[in-house]
């Protein structure tokens, strides 16, 4: 059961432009959402999160938007940099906090 879905396996963006990564979820009990970034041969690293009481959270070049009614969240990176090239995982958890579900990831390539 894929409760968290990232329907775009890959995304290519020009340096300096905006990257938008999307994520959909099906479980209405999810109330905490995270984005992880993963470089090859490394473990995922935490990037940014948002709780269900908010619809936007910003951290530098990274902004996460949450649309609860649509069960959709997105990660915006602006401006995109070549160093942002990585696989981005969307994750969600319920109030229990220990049953996190991950999407399959989207590979972002930022071209110089």
């Amino acid at each position: 059961d894929q409760q968290v879905k990232q329907n775009s396996p890959s995304l290519s963006v020009q340096e300096g432009r905006i990257s938008i990564l999307n994520c959909d979820y099906t479980n209405s009990m999810f109330d905490y959402f995270l984005w992880y970034k993963k470089y090859p041969a490394e473990g995922p690293t935490f990037l940014i999160s948002i709780s269900s009481i908010k619809d936007k959270n910003e951290d530098g070049r990274f902004t996460v938007f949450l649309n609860k009614s649509a069960k959709h969240l997105s990660l915006h990176i602006v401006p995109s940099q070549p160093g942002d090239s990585a696989v981005y995982f969307c994750a969600a958890s319920t109030r229990r906090g220990s049953d996190m579900r991950f999407g399959a990831g989207t590979r972002l390539t930022v071209k110089p």
């Binding site: 894929q2 905490y32 995270l34 992880y36 041969a41 490394e42 473990g43 995922p44 690293t45 935490f46 999160s49 709780s51 696989v87 995982f89 994750a91 958890s93 229990r96 906090g97 220990s98 049953d99 996190m100 579900r101 991950f102 999407g103 399959a104 990831g105």
Partner: protein, 117 residues
């Protein structure tokens, strides 16, 4: 000063063998996890331990057994390895199961690529 470390990084073994993957975190976190990244790149949670108590077991075969000798370690033992066990296994830790500020921020190890021949 690695926060979450796993050993070995690569593990190649024959079917039927028993193997272990070790995980250690020096972050002082209360909860540790094991994830399996399957061929489709999904990260699926296998186990989590909070203060030596197993709190998740996601329909994982009982050939897999987590062992936590102390709060800083969560090792994964796998008996009678099968071809389908080939995957990358990630260890992770998080500060606490209660509270919302940092509970779900999990810090991952670098992964262990297991290949069963």
């Amino acid at each position: 000063d690695t926060a979450v470390s796993q050993t070995p990084k690569y593990l190649v073994t024959q079917m039927g063998n028993d193997k272990s993957i070790k995980c250690e975190q020096n972050l002082g976190h209360d909860t540790m996890y094991w994830y399996k990244q399957d061929s489709k790149k999904f990260l699926k949670i296998m186990f989590s331990y909070n203060n030596k108590e197993l709190i998740i077991n996601e329909t994982v075969p009982n050939r897999f057994s987590p062992k936590s000798p102390d709060k800083a370690h969560l090792n994964l033992h796998i008996n009678s390895l099968e071809l389908g066990d080939s995957a990358v296994y990630f260890c992770a830790s998080s500060p606490t199961l209660r509270g919302r500020e940092s509970t779900d921020t999990q810090y991952f190890g670098p992964g262990t690529r297991l290949t069963v021949l």
